[in-house]
């Protein structure tokens, strides 16, 4: 096993240990933070699939987070409270939105793709802002968390956390297989040279679109979980700044390794918690840390780790 999967599994185990640790030191809030970490790790993973392996920098990815969240609100209002049904609905909505927006966006490349995905993200955002039935830009509170097989198991924070963790593990495992399978190699190929891919018989658009749709669906699942965690749904989830934060998480962790996406989400959420509790001007510190990472560790935290490991071996 190479370093990346090892790191990813270590992170998963670390997360799994949080609830007992929280119980031991008597601070149940740790579990809440860990839940948030895991939710964003799923979102970051989904982004890593297209950004890291397909060089498709989506600057509208938060839209899927929002779609997932609103799927919960809409389903709940119509009496569908089962988590898996809601996830299905979210994934379906995300797939539709991704297929349509992707079909248009994927005609462009590079910065143009960044901006056109931003445009679609903003359209989704403004759509929900004007959706009075669900509180417009104020959003709306959920009556309760989703149910599992008709039971309110998820009201328990620890149970909910392990549910999220299971989703994260599943997302990671699935994506790890995928990127190393035929599909993943083709996706990587389109990242490297589109022209060459066409010249050896591929239609890059199909693979990109498939990855784009899949990524949106996974992110929507993260949105379902986010809505459940906060028990609140609002267009703020899909603001462009949120998309930016997802990108930052990913870059901080390291692009195109999956483990980096998870690490980035964990560290970003953790740092925010830590620094915000420490100083009113925590953004300054966070900025300085980010800057230090980019300047001294080009491949993000995973790059740093890799170099440390390599240094240790030499």
């Amino acid at each position: 096993m190479s370093a990346a999967p090892k790191a990813a599994i270590a992170l998963l185990i670390l997360l799994a240990l949080v609830p007992p640790a929280a119980a031991a030191i008597g601070d149940p809030f740790l579990t809440v933070i860990a839940t948030r970490m895991a939710v964003f790790a799923i979102a970051a993973l989904s982004l890593d699939l297209i950004l890291g392996y397909g060089a498709l920098v989506s600057f509208g990815h938060a839209a899927y987070l929002g779609l997932g969240a609103y799927a919960v609100a809409v389903c709940a209002r119509h009496g569908i409270t089962d988590l898996f049904l809601q996830m299905g609905a979210a994934a379906l909505a995300a797939a539709l939105f991704a297929a349509v927006s992707g079909a248009v966006s994927l005609r462009t490349r590079g910065i143009y793709f960044i901006m056109i995905t931003l445009a679609f993200g903003q359209m989704a955002y403004f759509f929900f802002v004007s959706l009075s039935a669900y509180g417009g830009d104020d959003g709306t509170a959920l009556a309760a968390r989703s149910t599992l097989f008709g039971r309110a198991w998820l009201e328990n924070d620890t149970a909910f956390f392990y549910m999220v963790l299971a989703c994260l593990a599943l997302a990671y495992g699935g994506l790890d297989r995928l990127v190393h399978a035929r599909f993943g190699r083709v996706l990587t190929g389109t990242r490297e040279s589109e022209l060459r891919m066409r010249a050896i018989g591929y239609r890059p658009f199909r693979y990109r679109l498939a990855a784009y749709v899949l990524s949106g669906m996974i992110c929507a699942v993260a949105g379902v979980l986010l809505a459940n965690q906060t028990e609140y749904v609002s267009p703020a989830y899909m603001a462009w700044t949120r998309s930016g934060e997802l990108i930052v998480m990913l870059l901080l962790g390291g692009v195109g390794t999956l483990a980096g996406a998870m690490a980035g989400a964990l560290v970003t959420v953790g740092l925010e918690e830590l620094l915000a509790g420490w100083s009113e001007h925590w953004r300054l510190c966070f900025g300085l840390i980010l800057l230090a990472v980019v300047l001294w560790s080009p491949a993000g935290l995973t790059g740093l780790l890799r170099r440390l490991l390599a240094g240790g071996r030499r």
Binding site: G174, R177, L178, H180, A181, R182, F183, G184, R185, V186, T188, G189, E192, S193, L195, R196, M197, R198, A199, I200, G201, Y202, R203, Y207, A210
Partner: protein, 248 residues
């Protein structure tokens, strides 16, 4: 039998007619060289034959089917592959991965999400064979980005070969390779002759005259002469416009 038939192909950039009513037949099994001055439109022709560029008018027929409007991928699947004059590879991937991807392209669906591709022996074996053919066997695990210019040129050819085409469009495959590697590649093309039909664009006259069954001379969008190597070598107009003294 004519494998590739080009009729009255035209392509202009503004006032510049890069392909100017060009017609060309390539017979099955032959190695057809196209020579001509820089900027004559050779690469542009290949681009149109391979589907990278759409011609303004005219038609391209491959194996009896009109492919003028089909996309690159379908042409490759129909058996028409190309190499690029300006090296076009997957830089972050290793030489083996570059070639294996081409093998994968013609061996089953790529919408497979589960099985690790690196473990697919069939892909790797075929890819290794192609690498060995161009003399890059010992560079299999090196990322394309970390190869020297000449090595990249060799890899470029290996990728095209891995498509197992019926018609191979080669755009200056020997450019940038050293004398020894050029010799090896010429031998390789010689060996492929007969199995694969080839359109060869090359400024290395020694290779062209050694390999070609037929040569067409392309000057500013039009074919001005066509014939066997000897015929072309002796053609005074070709000598004046293109060959100069070197060919003697």
């Amino acid at each position: 039998m004519t494998l590739l038939a080009v009729r009255d192909l035209r392509k202009s950039y503004g006032a510049l007619a890069v392909t100017d009513g060009l017609s060309l037949d390539v017979a099955e099994g032959e190695l057809h060289a196209i020579i001509g001055p820089n900027g004559a439109g050779k690469t542009t022709l290949i681009a149109q034959l391979s589907g990278q560029l759409a011609p303004d008018s005219g038609s391209v027929t491959f194996d009896g089917t009109d492919i003028t409007r089909t996309d690159m991928a379908s042409r490759v699947r129909a058996g028409l592959a190309r190499s690029f004059q300006i090296t076009t590879l997957m830089p972050a991937m290793t030489a083996l991965e570059n070639v294996a991807l081409a093998v994968q392209g013609r061996s089953g669906s790529s919408f497979r999400f589960w099985r690790p591709v690196a473990a697919e022996a069939a892909l790797n074996d075929q890819a290794m064979t192609c690498l060995a053919q161009v003399g890059l066997a010992d560079r299999a695990d090196r990322p394309a980005a970390a190869m020297s210019h000449g090595e990249k040129r060799q890899l470029e050819l290996a990728v095209a070969l891995a498509c197992r085409p019926r018609l191979l469009l080669l755009d200056e495959p020997l450019a940038g390779t050293g004398p020894q590697e050029a010799e090896r590649l010429v031998a390789l093309l010689e060996a492929l002759k007969g199995q694969v039909t080839m359109v060869l664009i090359e400024h290395d006259m020694a290779a062209v005259f050694a390999l070609a069954d037929r040569i067409s001379v392309l000057v500013y969008g039009q074919i001005v002469a066509s014939g066997g190597p000897e015929e072309i070598r002796q053609d005074p107009a070709v000598r004046a416009a293109y060959l100069g003294e070197e060919a003697c």
